[in-house]
Structure formats: C-alpha cells, structure tokens
Assembly symmetry: C2
Homo-oligomer: 121 residues x 2
DNA sequence: ATTATAATGATAATCAATATCACTTGTCCA
DNA sequence: TGGACAAGTGATATTGATTATCATTATAAT
C-alpha cells in the first residue's frame, strides 16, 4: 500500500480515526503535534491526500472552501450546519427522520462520482 | 431582490441560465465578455455570489477545488467525472439507472444543509 | 553497516476567492 | 430635466488554503 512505514502517517491516520468531527487539516495538525511535536503541516497535507488516494479517507468539501476529512469509509450522508459550520454524520435516511432529531434541513445535495459515458469509452 | 438593475448581473445570470455545463467562474467570465467586453472578473465573482445568496443559483463544489455554478434550482443529483472533471445532471434515481446510461459510478455522497440541533436552539 | 530512495519539514510558490477603493451608473426626488 | 445619493463596477492588492520544491532524515533491503 505505502512503500514505507512512517510514524507521521500513522499518527495522522490515528488522529483521523479517533474523531467523528470531520476535521480540517489544521485540526489534524494540532492533534498530531500533541503526539509528534516536530511534525510539519506539509506532512499532514501530504498524508491526508495519500490516505484519500488509497481509499482510507474521504474528503468532505464544505461551503467555507475548506477540506474536511473522514476516515469512515462506509457510505453515509453528512449534515453541514450553516451556522457553526460543523459536519455531522446523519445515519437515518430521509428528511423527516433527520428533522425529528432536531436538524433543520434546508437543502440536500447528492453527488455521484465516477467516470462519465464519454470518458468510459 | 437586488437594489438596482445592472447590465453585468443580467449578462452573468443569462450566461448561467443558458448552459447546463455547471461552469466555473472563469467560463462564465469568458462568455460574459463576449456580450460585455468590459466586464471585470471581480464583477462576475460578485454577481455569482449574489445570485447564490438570493437563491437564484447553487454552488457545486468539485474535487478540483473550484466552485462550479448551476442556475437550475430544482433538486437534482450531479455526476462528477474523475477523468474529465465535468459536472453533469443525472435525472434518474439510483445507481442502476445511472449505470444503464453509461456512467461508471464509484461513489455517492449525500449532504444535507441547514441548522444543526445545537444551533437551532 | 551500507546503500538506495521514500518520506519529512521548512518554506516558497500557486491560485481561487475576497477586499479595497476610486470611479461609474441607476434611481429617487426636487 | 438635473443634481444627489448610494449601489454597482473594474482594476488590482490581499488573503488564505493547498501544492511544489529541495535539502535532510529515516526506512528497509542486501
């Protein structure tokens, strides 16, 4: 998978696995520094990208134009709050059930990723 | 809605309404220049933002970290091609039907937008 | 232990998006 | 009709997230 082990990558991945807050790069960086104070922000960026490339993490794009990361690779919808900007998992399906948990849903976007018919040829 | 009429805003909105390609700012800018050669890129940014704020357009965030815009405010899923980066409307529901049209679907993200329970209080 | 090279960390560079500000233009009203 | 006020524009500077660069460090095979 990766050509060599690195302490930094392990720490970055552990930080990501141990939270459900869908953190930004900066948050992962701050947490990683608590374990490896010498780690650099470039290494955090690099490893998060690598984790995504290797299918070990997903990027969640938010309206504030920052990348958030999620190590939970099971398919599940997210809820993004326009007030505090938090990204949360919503395990139930459908507007009604989400509303019952206190979420005020204004909009819903669904995006499929893959290869379009032209490129598939 | 808007406090004053402006030719520039009308052109930007018309450009957006007349395409289904979910264009970037730059594409809208180039098209708008064909009608109003003196229009500035800042004006295009500004008006696209305003259109979104007023519920006349939506932002589609793509993995290339650029904002794409869509004047179709009906709720509909998008398909983003990892090969060419195009953003397309997929009007049918479900992986199977999309696959029948030649799309190779690898992943699907659903995001709800609104106010989280804590902020709603 | 030696060696090849992957990975790191500091920092420069990139680039999309936003802010600034003097100037222009739409709209109100005398 | 003609100011006058302020919204809107356009050129450009600034910001800020992400990526590239490169000398140095560290992993893993021999």
């Amino acid at each position: 998978m990766f050509q060599r082990y690195s302490k930094q990558r392990e720490v970055v991945y552990n930080v990501l696995c141990q939270t459900k807050t869908h953190p930004t790069v900066d948050w992962v960086y701050e947490e990683a520094k608590k374990v490896l104070p010498e780690i650099g922000i470039a290494t955090v960026y690099r490893n998060l990208r690598e984790l995504v490339k290797h299918g070990m993490a997903k990027v969640v794009l938010t309206p504030d134009n920052k990348e958030h990361f999620d190590a939970d690779m099971t398919q599940h919808p997210h809820f993004i709050c326009k007030s505090c900007g938090c990204v949360m998992d919503v395990t139930t399906q459908g507007h009604t059930k989400i509303a019952q948990k206190g979420f005020v849903v204004e909009n819903c976007d669904t995006t499929f990723f893959g290869t379009c018919p032209q490129c598939a040829n």
